[in-house]
Structures are given as C-alpha cells and as structure tokens.
Symmetry: none
Subunit: 206 residues, 4 copies
DNA sequence: AATGAATGAGCCTTCATTCAT
DNA sequence: TATGAATGAAGGCTCATTCAT
C-alpha cells in the first residue's frame, strides 16, 4: 500500500494533497476491510484519516469511486507481489509454488484483501471480474509455457488456471485469513504444490 | 427451492401462511441474487411476492433473518444435491467427479447461489464460514475414506479438501455463472477430475 | 386550496392518507411562499404539517415533485376563480374586468401564488410556461369573441392577450401583494379596464 | 455589459484586477442566466471565468453580493437603453413606443435579464422591488408629462405606469425570450402602442 | 493577487421497522 | 393475518467560505 495511485479523476497537484490522498486510501482500506463497503461510511473514513468529511470529495467523486480505486490498487499489488517472487530459472512447478507462497504472504500482510475483492462482486462487478480474469490469464500463460517446456503435461490451459486459482484462493482463506497463523505460507504452498503436481489418485507407479 | 424451510422464528400455522412464506423466500432469492443484500429492499421483495410491506414481519424478524434463512436453505440444498449424485458403489475419484457435476448443475439452475453465499461473508459471517467448513468436512471425509480404501493416496485431509472445494467453486464461477452455457457440466467435471487425480506435472510414466 | 389534488404518483388509499396529503400541501404552500423553493426544506415543511420527515416520501417522490404539484394546483385554482366570476350575459369588456377582479381577490387570499408561480420559472420551467400560455389562450379566446360580437375592435388576438395578462399580473403585484390593502380589487379592476378599453391617448371625441 | 460596475465593496486597484472583475461578471451573468442563482455555483463561475475558486473572494464577499451587483448592473443597463432611445421632440406616445422598442431590443441581446431580475425576487427582494418601482416611476413621469402636454388624456399616473410596464414585460417574455426571433421589436412595439393608445373597445367614432 | 486544499453545516433521500386498523 | 401509513435515524453529497502558501 505504498505505491502511487493513478487513474484518479482528481489528481492532487501539491505535495500536501498527495499525502492527504494516501491517508484517505489507507483509512479506506482499513474501514472497508473491517466493516465492508455498505457498513462503512465516508464520515468514519475521513475521521480515521484525520480530516474533515468534505475533504473526501476533493479526492473522489463518490464512495464507489474510492472503492474501485482501492480494488484496482489491491489487485495490482497482489499480482505484483506474485510476479516478484518468480525467478527466471525456476521450473514451471516451482514457479507456481513461489507464486502461491507470495500470494499467501501478501494476504497475511493485507488481510483486508479478501473482503475488499469479494465485495467488489457487488460494488464493482466489472473490477471483480477483471481481477480474476487477469489473474487466470497470468496463470494460464505460465501453464502453457510449462507444457511447452515439458515440465508440465501437455494440454493445459484456462480451465486448469481457474482450478489452480480457486485452490489458491481457498487455501488462503482457510489457512491465512481464518488460520491462527501457526502454519507458515511456505509449508502450505509446498503441500498444495504437491497436489497440483501429482494429484490425489493412488500412485501405483511406486 | 421447493423444500420446507425450518429454523424460522415464525413458523406459519396455516397452509395459506406456508404458501406466503414460500413466495417470500422465492422473491428474496431473486432480489438478493440480482441486487445483493444491501441494494435489495424489503419493500421490493414484498412487491415481488405480491404482498403488502407490513406483512413481511409476520414471517421474519428482520432483513438479516430472511437472508440467513435463505443462506441456510441454499447451503443445505447444494449439499443435498451433491450427496444425491453419489452412488454407494462409485470409486472415490468417481464420487468427487459426480459431486462436482451435481454442484455445477445445481449452480446452473440456481445462479443466485454464488451471490447469496458470497454476500453472507458480510451479512452473516458465521453462516458463511459454516457453509464452507461443513462442505470442506464432507469432502475431507470422502478423501479420508478414499485414502483408506486405497483409491487415493494416503495422507489426504483438510488441506486437500479446501483445495478441491476452491477448484470447484471457481470452475463453477467461470464456466457456469459467467459461462455462456455451451460447455456442459459433465465435461467440465471430467476434465477437472483428471487434474485432481493426476495433477499437472509431466507424466514420465507413459 | 381545498380541492382534491390529482395526478400524483402516490395517491393515498385511505382517508387518513388523504388528510395527511392535504396538510402537506398546505404546509408546503406556506413554506414555499415564505422562503421560496430553495430556502425551503422538506424537514421544515413536515414540521409545519406536524408529521415525521420520512412521511413526506409517502406522498411525493421529491421536493420538486411537491413543488410541481403545488404549481399545477394553484394554476388551476386561479383560472377557476377567474372563470367563476364570469357571467354569460356580460359584455366582453365587463368579462375582462370581472376576471381581473377575481384574480386580484384570489391573489389577496393567496399571496403565495406570486412567489410560487414565479419560482416555477426556475424549478419547473415547463409548468411556468404552461401556466402563462394557457392563461393567455383563455384571454385570447375571449378577445376574439369580443371582436366577433362587436364589443371589441376587430383584429384582437394573442398579442393583446399577453399584454392584458401582463397588466393584470403587475397590477396585482403592485396593489395586492405589495399594496397595503387599502385599495379594493374592484376599484382597481375598474380603472384598469378603462385603460384597456380606451387607451391613454387624448380623446378628442369629447 | 461593458460599463464599469460600482457599489462594490472590493474595488480592484489595478488594471489586471479590473479585467478579472469583468470576466467574473460576464461569467456570472451567463451562469445565473442558465442555471439560476441556486443551481449556479461559485466554482462553476470561476471556471468559466478562467480563474481559481479562491480568487472569487478577492472581488466579492459572497455569492449574494455578486448577484446583487449583477442585478444593479442589468437594471441600470436596461433603463439606460430605454432612455437612450428617446428623443426630445417625440410625442408622448412615440416616446412609449420607442422605450418599448429599446427594451425589447435590449432583451433580445441579453436574454439572461429575465431570469436574473426574476430571481432577484428571491435572492435580493429589495433590489427586485427597487427595479420595478424605479421603472414604474420613470414611466409614470412620462405619462404625467404626456397628460400635461395634452398628448395623453388627463389623470394618468402610477397605476397606468404599472399596467404599461406589465404589458411590456410580458410582451418581451412572449415574443423575445420565448419567441423564435421572427417578429422584430419595432413591429411589436408598434402594435402594442396602438393598444396603449386606443384600447380595445369597439370604436364607434369611425 | 492568486491558488489549491480544507472545512463542516446542511439537506435530501432511503428504508428497516413499528403502528393502527 | 394482512395492510397502508408513519417513523426517524443515518448517510451521501454539495458547496459557500476560509486557510495557507
């Protein structure tokens, strides 16, 4: 949550303005994370941010606009985190494991992300869809490369990407957001990766 | 959506009352499915149901109560559908495939289910959690049985259950709720099952 | 202000409702008359009417809707008053005098009418225009009949109607709304009628 | 709109300041004319004028102050236009016709005048009243002179002045502001003057 | 003089819930 | 049971005005 926000109709021109905007976004992330979009109030957000109610509208046109900005922000940040965990020399399967690990670590740091992205389904459906479709495309791209490289079996594509994304999301929900924090992301990622790699059928090849 | 609803503080005594209650629940499912909990209004729901606003409180104590009743209803219905698809003589892997197929078919019939369960995260978090934990337990139980029977590899448990549940949910989202309806549930279930069974690693055993 | 109001999107079904609606309209006429549309507040109107704020929206969709209803109401009422003053056996000129007298008396009773109709120019321009165009048409009709009957000179029409309407309106503003009430409507109407009838040129026919 | 504005609490000292003030007034005339006082916003006015919001308060103490300045400005300008059309050797009736013609031409050039003066009734009632009372006094003075000169019949005064003013205003509304511009001011003024001069009664002296 | 940011009172509107019949 | 009306708290948003630079 420390990269600049873009694509906002009301870009602050002064430094002071940019600082205020950041305070607003941080406060909003906390508020939406705790209360959800509908139970959150602009007034409470500006209070958290330590500014007057009206100041909000210097930076956003509406509660929805703020929320959308936040969703884009978070969406980009997770993807960025995942990509940052990938090294060029990893095997395709290791890449998946690293990406999952990075995602879980990100979620542990930013627990609001689940509620915020989930609520986008209702508040900004297009952004919701975009988030998952983009993520799936990234995964699909990696799978196709894995197939091509021979690290993964042939024929992988979108469907497998969605399946893996679903696994990752639910694993994060269960073990990070709802978990007690005792299981560390790497261990989980490792276990899940084994499932992804070999499945659960009995292995008669032993 | 045609089984009786229970666990209601205000159980209608007459037949007419029961019919009214049903109309209310159907109207609510539609309304919540379309608009989400917060954008939905009691007034609109009663209008859909063809009754007066005030009548609502003869059947439910609050908007939340109605929503919770609906979530329980749906939660039970999906699980019931999944269970109904399982035959005693199926192999453990076939059971998973059948369960997924049943789930996808159910979702195709009741597209509201995604939005309603998803929104429970905000409106009735306990029910949300209960829904997924119960579902996961069911799957985990089957996996353990599969391990024991030798159909599946040993050591399967909760983590794998959550992973599989996540896959199923996201596959349903992508190919049923957002899909154009051209891919049929069985085909999808079959493909996904292959992933679950054998994973995506290159198979050198061939 | 004691005839039923029609053409309202939310027609009350009970007697109690109809009484409430009337109280609302009376309160609104007073409030708008005193403060004007923009300085008036729904909250103040409902207070005057002795009801809760929210009750307003049982009867009107918006502040604008209430205002428009009021404008239509008043517009009809003045025209009705004017028409009521006309007897079939009057000469065309006497008709004009009677109509003006009736208008002035109406304005004396309902001083809000000026501010309400005037403000319609900004709040509901279509209603504003409709009011004056309808009124002008009525007058024009009478003038044409007067021309035909030989009581008035030939060639009278819309332009003369607008001129006469303007006179009437401004005379009412000056001597009724701003007046101290010492000059009675009939006297004024008589004097104005003389102007209408014979103009102000020096009369060499004497 | 090109004479200096006076009676302003904050008279600019520099030339640049005077130019800014003029831009502000022109922008305000346009904005108030289009949207009316209450729907207009300082921010929109300063935008039109190409300056920053805060700069407004260098020139006016409040939105009301600006509006009042504008009303005075326009009020003076119309009267000035009317007076400018009068030649010393005209007959009293010709004077009225010339004045009306000038007024109509002015209104055609400055259509905002109607909305601005009309809205003064709500925003600055004193200015509204002053405008019409002053105008009426001017007319009354001319009528009295006309009576004295023998061009007009005796006994003319305030009442006739208001009546004539009302005619002029409504004729301008109908044929200039709402008109399609096809009828030229002079023709209208001529027709109206005939009404003023001889009235509408049947003329048996013919 | 000029500017962009900040302020906060105020108001319309919604709607879950309660009431009276 | 059913219904139409009534309630009032709550919240989003506007915008004139003030501040700091």
């Amino acid at each position: 949550m420390d990269k600049p926000v873009k694509a906002n109709p009301k870009t602050p021109r002064t430094d002071r303005g940019r600082r205020t905007l950041r305070k607003l976004l941080d406060a909003a992330a906390a508020e939406f994370g705790e209360k959800g979009f509908y139970e959150a109030s602009i007034s409470s957000i500006t209070q958290r941010a330590g500014m007057a109610l009206g100041s909000f509208y210097t930076y956003f046109d509406s509660k929805e606009a703020l929320f959308s900005a936040l969703v884009s922000d978070m969406s980009e940040n997770v993807m960025h985190a995942a990509r940052g965990a990938i090294a060029p020399d990893m095997s395709a399967l290791d890449v998946e494991q690293a990406a999952l690990g990075a995602f879980l670590r990100f979620a542990a740091e930013h627990r609001e992300i689940y509620r915020i992205i989930d609520e986008a389904e209702f508040v900004d459906p297009a952004a919701y869809r975009r988030h998952y479709e983009t993520t799936a495309q990234r995964i699909a791209g990696r799978l196709e490369r894995g197939s091509a490289d021979g690290d993964m079996r042939p024929g992988l594509g979108e469907l497998h990407a969605w399946a893996i994304m679903g696994m990752n999301v639910f694993i994060g929900l269960r073990y990070v957001v709802w978990g007690d924090g005792t299981i560390d992301p790497e261990t989980i990622a490792h276990e899940v990766n084994d499932l992804i790699a070999h499945g659960i059928a009995a292995r008669d090849d032993k």
